[in-house]
Symmetry: C2
Subunit: 256 residues, 2 copies
DNA sequence: CAGATCGTTCCTGTCTCGGGAACAAATTTA
DNA sequence: TAAATTTGTTCCCGAGACAGGAACGATCTG
């Protein structure tokens, strides 16, 4: 089940345009013919779509090469502000990064995955692949599992059903029942952990930011096995995470 | 001349989808009927387009309300990196902000306007309306005029022809010929200034970042009339701006 | 200067897609 | 509680949009 079959029909020409946008996102600079070949459409089709995109100022053309315009940056700013109280999240994450020296991330659920809204990097932090806007599976990350644990029951169950629980390391949870047990455990103690389930050598702790009967997202601390002992994780690190989550919670609760 | 009549046709359905995206960018959370009314289309039409957008994971739906997904953030990251050497620009801008305590901005030309790629704010900086991704006219800003001065001759002329040279303050340049003279002056001394031409009480200095026979963009220092005397502008401030521009120039010249 | 490749334009037939109406579900009002 | 709105969704249909192919210049390459 890869395609999310929602209600309604799907518009072909819109799909083409959106596919062009996706192409322009990843490929540095692209020309008409290259896009036509890559997307399997005629040159004239791509040509007209690019013309439309340029007309709407979403794409810029510099001597034959096309790229997304800076309007995307403006859109990104708006998107950030539409999610809870972005400033509070950033402040708390920065503070945590400063204090722990590790990687702090804030993630929310989108389309059955964790999407990273913000990332703060401490002094001695390890670099991870994930960056702002990137996605990760939910079942193998502490952020994902923590969010799953605090979403409304039915929503959680529907998400689990649609997951394929791919294995990434020997620790990855790959059965739905094991995942359900893990979520119950997270609810018991109030925070989630990732014990090398997504990437070998990396551990995380996550605390949920609740919002009424659902969950806004979660904040996590990530670090190497060497510095992330069981004692530290279940001690100071989990406390720091839940503390930050609480501050965010208090500041967003009354704003929407 | 508002619409940029380029070559080729324009795709209606794509326009609808892109208009929805624009709507979602500005309005916080929107539902089917509201969008239908605002864009002047039937509910079924909007419905199908939203379905397409959600299918492509560019839009998220949370109990009936739609918003742009965090994929936009990912796209924004890519866009930044596609423009010259973003890291160098950021470093130089931050350094300048630190040193001067004022607002530093880096802008490029897009669709006949200045778009801001990065903004660094010093300690005692005045807040301006413009943010990352936002647009400003070229004829009334130091960034815009400086970029115009260093674009290829024919490109500059075509841009001037298509501008409407709106007046914002008593100092705004509103005639094409006066603008051409100003550009020549900028080329003479190597940097451009904005003497309360865009906003009352604000002055700027900008230096171009050249790139072969064209210009990548420009970097500017903005501040209040009180601190930006003629002496300072034509002395240390213009030197700081051109210095930073040169560093960026050197670092981008060999990578693109 | 030939050959190839590019972007652009024009045309045509098919099937897409926008709109309207009817329906169902949720929300509001009395 | 029931009636009355308003919502999101589905279905159908005919007009016309739009994807593709071919042909044309323009540009690049050797």
């Amino acid at each position: 089940m890869t395609t999310n079959e929602g209600p309604g029909r799907t518009i072909q020409s819109a799909e083409i345009t959106l596919n062009i946008i996706s192409e322009l996102q990843t490929q540095d600079a692209t020309r008409v013919t290259a896009l036509a070949n890559r997307l399997g459409h005629s040159k004239s089709t791509i040509h007209n779509h690019l013309h439309t995109l340029e007309d709407q100022q979403l794409v810029v053309r510099e001597d034959g090469e096309y790229r997304l315009s800076l309007r995307i940056l403006d859109m990104a700013m708006h998107v950030r502000e539409q999610i809870g109280n972005y400033d509070v999240i950033r402040n708390e994450a920065d503070a945590l990064a400063e204090e722990t020296g590790e990687i702090i991330q804030f993630g929310i659920e989108e389309h059955g995955k964790v999407s990273y809204l913000y990332k703060a990097t401490g002094e001695q932090a390890v670099e991870t692949l994930s960056g702002v806007g990137k996605q990760q599976p939910m079942h193998s990350t502490s952020l994902g599992k923590t969010i799953l644990a605090y979403l409304p029951q039915d929503r959680t169950e529907r998400l689990i059903e649609s997951m394929d629980l791919e294995r990434f390391t020997s620790n990855t949870i790959t059965s739905a029942d094991a995942l359900r047990t893990e979520l119950e455990e997270i609810r018991q103690r109030g925070y989630g952990i990732d014990d090398e389930e997504n990437i070998e050598g990396l551990r995380c702790v996550s605390a949920p930011v609740e919002n009424g009967d659902t969950v806004l997202g979660a904040i996590s601390i990530t670090g190497p096995l060497s510095r992330f002992t069981d004692d530290r994780i279940h001690g100071e690190l989990s406390e720091l995470a839940t503390g930050a989550a609480n501050v965010i919670e208090l500041n967003t609760k009354f704003s929407g």
